[in-house]
């Protein structure tokens, strides 16, 4: 038997910088959870009444679900279209999707105000709500993914019966998964269709559901390529190069359809000129479309890039970044201008998001160690690229340096974009919001309105036994008709409601002499004071 330390190492591997960073991030995330659940969303996030959805919805939910789309795309490819050579990709993508949805739910528990009610849509129906539909689909699809993943668990433990059971229903399961995914991937876009006039016209469109669906497919394909590359680096396990290249080709088609659809839509809504004006929105739009759609299209479509594993990985990364920026643009950039405020996620919001991503990587790594995620036969097939395509000698050095240079330039562009976004987000709140306090806004009719004032009738307080005489209060003598401020007296003690019982606790001599009630103004400063020789001023 192994010792505890060896066991730890078997499970978690060697101690590295990234693992240390992950540990720190998770520790801060636990603190964030404490702040969120004991002090509220206001204390833990930069959300506000003007900006109720931020990073946790924009990234954790919208991006999370979209990046998990590889699950249904590959499952459909293998089990419906029966292109069975993709079978070996299916397992890691389904695992990614399954983890993705679980993490989306974890993120939701942070974001929801009353997370223990998360199950309410099961019994409290509102079929008119897009969110209701999304909730149901996510619930059902997570179950489908669990079942799609379950054969690996059954195989691992050699449980034959349940394995056969799941295999029998696998095709219907996959079809159900595709239908559910079609529904909620698109519906996440539909969520924003009701935000007409709030979401910036560069993103607002009745076609949002189609856009979300197409970009999710492209993102899912890119994610499969990305994962394969990362898995090779981490576990020495990878998938066949030609399979991945074909995924790249498919991504080109999907991205092209998306770009064309978007272009004609912008044209037909007379918004095409908007993309050439220099605004924070158009900058982010170009970041998304230029660097995240058009550029990867070109890269994927170029055989030399596609056949180079770094090139393929790089194009996939761009596609994923493009998808992330798209979802953040819809959720944050596009909602900023109309909100009248500026939003940038708080430190704790970012840490929670980062640790959820980190948790995703960690659990994926553990699952790969524990379950047969990557088919054994291909594990040692490291030489995925035919030798003929490998450049040699000086040419190789050049070929190596070129992608490195390209990468540096693009990394720079992204950094610029993100810095630009931060600056814009930080400065945009100023100079915004109403010009309506301007002095020129004077309604001349208003001067006459004091005449309309119908103050309540005089009120005589019940006389106490020790009182020198009854007190009758008159609003006429207490209210400045041109500038009435009811709350001066109706501040909680003198009630506005329930005529005839204006007081809480009764009007007593003792309270008056304590400086309470009438005496809070009748103190000799704000109004004449109450003393022993002017009783008759009020007691008549």
């Amino acid at each position: 038997m192994t010792t505890g330390a060896a066991k730890m190492e078997r499970w978690f591997g060697k101690f590295t910088f990234w693992k240390a960073l992950l540990g720190v991030t998770i520790a801060i995330a636990l603190y964030a959870a404490y702040v969120r659940f004991f002090h509220g969303l206001g204390a833990s996030t930069n959300l506000s009444d003007q900006f109720p959805w931020g990073l946790w919805i924009g990234f954790d939910m919208l991006v999370g679900v979209a990046l998990a789309a590889g699950g249904f795309v590959i499952a459909a490819t293998v089990h419906v279209f029966r292109i069975e050579k993709y079978e070996e990709i299916a397992r890691p993508t389904i695992l990614t999707a399954f983890l993705g949805y679980l993490l989306v739910i974890v993120a939701l528990l942070f974001d929801l105000g009353r997370p223990w009610n998360i199950w309410h849509p099961i019994i409290m129906w509102n079929p008119h709500s897009v969110m209701f539909e999304v909730g149901w689909c996510v619930m059902l699809y997570t179950t489908v993914l669990a079942l799609e993943f379950s054969p690996l668990v059954f195989e691992r433990f050699g449980w034959k019966m349940p394995l056969r059971l799941v295999q029998r229903i696998y095709t219907p399961l996959v079809i159900a998964g595709v239908l559910l995914s079609t529904m909620h991937q698109s519906s996440l876009g539909t969520l924003y269709v009701i935000a007409a006039g709030k979401l910036h016209p560069l993103w607002y469109s009745p076609w949002l559901p189609v856009y979300f669906f197409l970009t999710a497919i492209a993102g899912g394909l890119a994610m499969t390529i990305f994962e394969s590359y990362m898995s090779f680096r981490a576990f020495g396990k990878r998938l066949e190069a030609d399979l991945l290249q074909n995924l790249g080709r498919c991504a080109v088609v999907v991205l092209a359809v998306y770009a064309m659809w978007k272009a004609q839509d912008l044209l037909s809504r007379d918004q095409f000129a908007t993309i050439f004006q220099v605004t924070p929105e158009s900058v982010m739009f170009w970041g998304e479309i230029g660097l995240g759609v058009l550029l990867p299209m070109v890269l994927f479509a170029t055989p030399r890039v596609r056949r180079n594993e770094n090139g393929l990985f790089f194009a996939a990364t761009l596609t994923i970044l493009g998808l992330i920026v798209n979802r953040l643009n819809v959720a944050i950039t596009g909602m900023s201008a109309s909100s009248g405020t500026s939003y940038f996620p708080s430190f704790l919001e970012i840490v929670v998001t980062a640790s959820i991503v980190g948790a995703g990587f960690t659990v994926f790594a553990l699952a790969v160690k524990f379950f047969p995620v990557f088919p054994e036969a291909h594990a040692p097939a490291a030489a995925a690229l035919p030798a003929a395509q490998k450049p040699e000698g000086a040419a190789a050095a050049l070929a190596r340096s070129r992608p490195a240079f390209g990468k540096a330039v693009l990394a720079g562009l992204w950094v610029l974009l993100i810095v630009g976004f931060v600056v814009v987000a930080a400065t945009r709140g100023e100079g915004r919001i109403d010009t309506t306090t301007a002095e020129d806004l004077l309604d001349p009719k208003v001067a006459a309105r004091a005449a309309d004032l119908r103050l309540p009738e005089d009120y005589t307080f019940p006389q106490a036994e020790s009182s020198p005489g009854p007190v009758t209060f008159s609003h006429e003598t207490h209210v400045d008709g041109s500038q009435p401020r009811c709350a001066t007296c109706h501040n909680g003690t003198f009630r506005l409601q329930e005529a005839g019982t204006p007081l809480r606790g009764g009007l007593t001599e003792e309270r008056i002499h304590r400086g309470d009630l009438c005496a809070s103004c009748h103190n000799g400063k704000d109004a004449f004071g109450i003393d022993d020789d002017n009783c008759s001023t009020c007691h008549r």
Binding site: M124, S129, T171, L179, D443
Partner: protein, 258 residues
């Protein structure tokens, strides 16, 4: 009978009686003041120049909040008020995204917050034939409660009687498909922070037009997938049968290739 509120901004003296009456009847903390809507201020007096603008939930005829809520925590009552059922709420805040007027506010400082907005004193007053605390408290007759149709007639009568006093528009008759809360103003509404780009169609229609098509899309998509599967499946089986010589079970059961 559909009820509503008519607020005549040319008559509002800005005394805030409505605000404090609201806080009193709903037992809301007073610290937040009266100047802007929040989780603890369900009606507010915004000062725009010398015009006082009393804001509150518009109580749409077809409310976006009720349409978007996944658990139906917002409901339009037959009388008109849009009410909130806190026990249902899971706190997704989609209502805040969906509302074209930005009325639902949140309890950001509470660990387990609720959505907050004017509920037109439905349970406490309106359901029993009373009027809301705010209109009851108004000393200037600037905000009045009544039957919505009667209020619209009254608003039009006022504009007709004193055309110089009002802009020729009753805000709320057609905005967002019509609202229970109506406004008259002496200056253009856009100068007072009112959204004038709101659609005349009800907002729920936007998403329902898409959502209601899902069953058709999904049934066609589902049949297509099944069809594709049937063809590819059959093709495989035929190929398999041929490669095995004359299996004779070309149409036989799936040999489980997973």
């Amino acid at each position: 009978m559909k009820v509503g509120i008519l607020t005549d901004l040319t008559k509002c003296v800005g005394c805030e009686a409505c605000v404090w009456a609201c806080k009193e009847i709903n037992e809301l903390p007073r610290e937040d003041g009266a100047a802007r809507l929040s989780g603890t201020t369900w009606t507010a007096i915004e000062r725009h120049g010398n015009v006082n603008v009393r804001r509150q939930c518009m109580h749409c005829e077809e409310p976006a909040c009720a349409s978007v809520c996944p658990v139906a925590a917002f409901q339009k009552t037959p009388e008109g008020p849009v009410i909130y059922l806190p026990d249902r709420c899971m706190g997704c805040r989609y209502c805040m995204i969906g509302c074209p007027f930005g009325m639902p506010k949140y309890e950001w400082d509470k660990p387990l917050p609720l959505v907050r907005k004017c509920i037109l004193c439905y349970e406490t007053r309106v359901k029993n034939g009373g009027q809301p605390a705010c209109t009851a408290a108004c000393p200037a007759g600037a905000t009045i409660f009544g039957e919505r149709d009667a209020l619209i007639r009254e608003a039009r009568r006022r504009i007709e009687a004193e055309p110089g006093r009002y802009v020729d528009h009753v805000y709320g008759i057609s905005e967002a498909g019509g609202t229970s809360v109506l406004y008259l103003s002496g200056v253009p509404f856009e100068k007072l922070g009112f959204r004038v780009d709101v659609r005349e169609d009800p907002y729920p229609k936007l998403t329902w037009d898409i959502l209601s098509k899902l069953p058709s899309v999904i049934s066609v998509w589902g049949v297509s997938l099944l069809g594709i599967w049937w063809i590819t499946h059959r093709r495989d089986d035929v190929a398999e049968a041929e490669s095995h010589g004359h299996g004779g079970s070309a149409a036989g059961p799936d040999k489980d290739r997973h």
